[in-house]
Symmetry: C2
């Protein structure tokens, strides 16, 4: 029983995630995957079952990575709302070139995949919902810390931020105008603060 597994497996999923994120589900062939993760078809199918199942694990990996990053930014900024703004700035502007795509992988999946692969759609939806819930939690903390108005509604604000995040990332892909986007982010958070 050659159980080198776990460690290796996470690494493989991560590599698959990066390729899927770049090229999309339909745009990534199993041959592309074989090369990217350095595994032969038999091993891949033994380990993951199908292309779709591997994609599913890649989605979860992506989502976890983003969640971790958000946590780190809150620590760096030393405040809930400050961390959120830093997270926005990093994702939308700073990292958009080093990442495989400017656009959120969950959003890419949701827009690409149809009623074939309903499970991929449902999983993307679920993971996006979790992100929004996380935003709401953070905004609640910000409220308790006095960073935002006492009459603010964290759930509504979280929804608002989700829309901004999605829109800004795609807009970055269309316009490549970091300066104006940075101003937009400043405005968004300025409006939340008061």
């Amino acid at each position: 029983m050659a159980n080198v597994a776990k460690y290796n497996r996470d690494d493989v999923i991560r590599k698959a995630m990066l390729l899927f994120w770049e090229k999309g589900y339909n745009g990534t062939s199993t041959r592309d995957l074989q090369q990217a993760i350095d595994m032969r078809p038999g091993s891949i199918y033994a380990a993951f079952g199908s292309k779709e199942q591997l994609y599913r694990e890649a989605l979860v990996c992506y989502s976890q990575g983003m969640a971790e990053m958000l946590g780190q930014r809150i620590v760096s900024a030393g405040s809930a709302l400050g961390g959120l703004e830093l997270f926005f700035r990093n994702v939308v502007i700073d990292q958009c070139d080093s990442n495989p795509s400017e656009v959120c992988m969950l959003v890419k999946t949701l827009t690409e995949v149809n009623d074939d692969h309903p499970e991929l759609m449902e999983l993307s939806r679920e993971l996006l919902k979790r992100t929004e819930d996380r935003f709401a939690d953070i905004l609640q903390q910000a409220k308790e810390a006095g960073e935002i108005a006492t009459h603010a509604n964290p759930r509504i604000l979280a929804r608002h931020l989700q829309v901004q995040m999605i829109g800004l990332r795609i807009y970055m892909k269309t316009s490549r105008n970091p300066e104006s986007l940075s101003e937009q982010i400043t405005t968004i958070f300025a409006n939340i603060k008061r």
Copy 2:
């Protein structure tokens, strides 16, 4: 020279557009297209050259349709800003189920297609830019009509609206919550008006 063309051709492009919009570029096979537009491969390739060129024409068709609709809404509303808000509400909420996809076809293209097919990316970008320019023109009119503040900047507001439109449509696909989205649209335009 059987020149039944123009009329028929536009109809064919429109049907192709609806299918492409629904299933995406990679997700639409040439067989799907053959059935949808009721043409045989030889005719299709004689008329359009390739799948990519047909998609290009479909993108333009989509964009024109949206532009026409926006014009109509401004007429219906009897004001520039009112028409814009009506357009938002129709696109994001009312028509999202009757359309092939909740998401803007230009955005779908931009997020799906990679550096293969650079021309599709560039065309989508260009058409999105035209939309934003159109928004700016309309906001300028609104400004002159006294619908928005005299210190408002139409170009910045247009960019803002573009981000909102993109974000809201995708958010609709994830959450299916028309009520909250309607409130969000109300808020967006309320903030613009004062």
